[in-house]
């Protein structure tokens, strides 16, 4: 399957012989008469990190929500891990939105303990271990509502890591962060690279994505405009 109509692509083309970890084909999503995504086709390979770039309204979050199974596409298909639909792959996909997806009234440990109990026992990390992975103290008595934005994002990332997902979808992980927190998040994500784990993140801040992304995908008005190698490819 052709990867994309790449436009200014630098030549990225997944090998046809390989089965991608995630394959989107002719994906479109309409909201009323507005087309948020228009016939996007792409293969996401296992173990790679992809950064989705684009302006507000380009369709980045819509694509992420469709990949996560939170939004059905209007047209086209999504297959994950071979031949699973996003709903079937539930539990193997971790999704982090720009909102923390945690209860303000609970501490990070309480939040993670709650979410961990919704996964089969033995499949998920312990809340303490997930929090330590993102550099948060599990004993912190403060509720998430009193966290700084950077801490909230890290707690949210810990929630995503709980289920040890193979596909990590991170929608604007650097949003509303100061420079220090954003760079801390970049370091965390770089540390999360693992064989077999695919990361797809969206951001406006190309310079933050460059050090960790293998490929940069640019969306424009719902279309996949270009696919380029990221900074990590050249490292």
């Amino acid at each position: 399957m052709p990867a994309v109509d790449t436009g200014s692509s630098t030549g990225f083309c997944p090998a046809d012989a390989k089965v991608p970890l995630a394959r989107v084909t002719e994906l479109s999503r309409l909201f009323g008469s507005f087309a948020a995504l228009r016939q996007v086709s792409f293969d996401f390979e296992a173990g790679k990190c992809y950064a989705l770039l684009g302006e507000n309204g380009a369709g980045k979050s819509t694509l992420m929500r469709i990949l996560a199974g939170l939004l059905p596409p209007s047209h086209g298909t999504v297959r994950l891990f071979g031949d699973q639909s996003p709903a079937e792959a539930c539990g193997r996909v971790g999704y982090m939105s720009h909102a923390p997806m945690l209860y303000d009234e609970l501490t990070a440990t309480e939040n993670l303990r709650y979410f961990a109990s919704l996964y089969p026992r033995g499949q998920s990390l312990t809340p303490e271990s997930a929090l330590r992975q993102v550099g948060l103290d599990p004993a912190l008595p403060r509720t998430v509502g009193k966290y700084s934005q950077g801490m909230r994002q890290r707690a949210s990332l810990a929630r995503v890591l709980l289920a040890q997902p193979e596909l990590l979808l991170l929608d604007e992980p650097f949003s509303n962060m100061d420079a220090t927190s954003a760079h801390r998040m970049v370091e965390l994500l770089a540390g999360m690279r693992a064989p077999g784990r695919t990361i797809v993140l969206t951001t406006h801040q190309r310079e933050l994505a460059l050090p960790i992304a293998d490929h940069l995908l640019t969306l424009r008005e719902g279309r996949l405009d270009s696919v380029m190698d990221g900074g990590r490819t050249h490292a």
Partner: protein, 248 residues
């Protein structure tokens, strides 16, 4: 990744899932309920707002009518039920607010856990909140209206919980249905009140029978009707909840 390795990954994942212990449905309900109760214990938003509103309604009605008059005994059941209904709407409107704020509901949708447990736990939590308010409101209500049951007082212990369950089960479901609406605070009473009307009538008439001791009223019929209403609407809500949750 080669095709073989993807298949191997899928098989391995299936084996992992098969090998791990999945929490029972009741344990899941307990987990969600515990979380809701913990949050309410910390914020006390639901019970406080409901209690003050219900107290206000009961006090205002007691001033508007002569509490010593015989007519007061006739209407007292209606006042209690309507006070509970109005007070509960404020809480039911907020039932899913915490899940909507910060997209927590999306995080719940992404877990493999049975979603009906989320709904049942939320109904149970709301039922407990309304019951706490009724327990606190009851003595005030009886004092302000100079009431004592002339009929079988024990029937109140069956009528009020059954009526309350009808209210919170429907209210929690319709609150979930209207969470993505801009006018959800207006929409919920517009949908809930007409649908709750049969249960409200049964509840009011059963309470009136207990308070007046009017043996001619078939209060057991109202009880059966309330129980039937609860079973039907709870079943329908459970069947439709997942669809409502997935709606965009």
């Amino acid at each position: 990744m080669t095709e073989t390795s993807v298949e191997a990954g899928v098989d391995a994942a299936s084996a992992d899932v098969a090998g791990v212990e999945t929490a029972s449905w009741f344990a899941l309900v307990g987990t969600h309920l515990q979380k809701d109760l913990r949050i309410e214990w910390r914020s006390r938003e639901a019970i406080q707002s409901m209690l003050f509103f219900a107290l206000l309604v009961v006090v205002l009605f007691s001033m508007a009518f002569d509490p010593t008059a015989a007519a007061s005994r006739e209407i007292a059941g209606g006042v209690l039920c309507v006070a509970t209904l109005f007070a509960s709407v404020s809480v039911l409107n907020q039932a899913w607010t915490r899940e909507i704020r910060h997209d927590v509901l999306d995080a719940l949708r992404l877990t493999p856990a049975d979603r009906s447990a989320i709904f049942v736990a939320k109904v149970l939590a709301n039922f407990l909140f309304v019951t706490v308010v009724q327990v606190l409101l009851g003595p005030v209500f009886f004092i302000f209206y100079n009431l004592r049951p002339l009929g079988d007082g024990w029937l109140l212990l069956a009528v009020v919980p059954l009526g309350t369950w009808a209210l919170v089960a429907n209210g929690t479901f319709f609150a979930a249905l209207s969470i993505r609406s801009r006018n959800r605070e207006l929409l919920l009473p517009l949908i809930l009140f007409p649908i709750f009307l049969p249960a409200l009538l049964a509840m009011v008439l059963a309470v009136k029978t207990v308070l007046t001791g009017d043996g001619s009223d078939p209060h057991l019929l109202w009880l059966k009707m309330l129980a039937g209403y609860d079973i039907i609407f709870m079943t329908v809500s459970l069947l439709l909840f997942d669809t409502v949750l997935q709606a965009e």
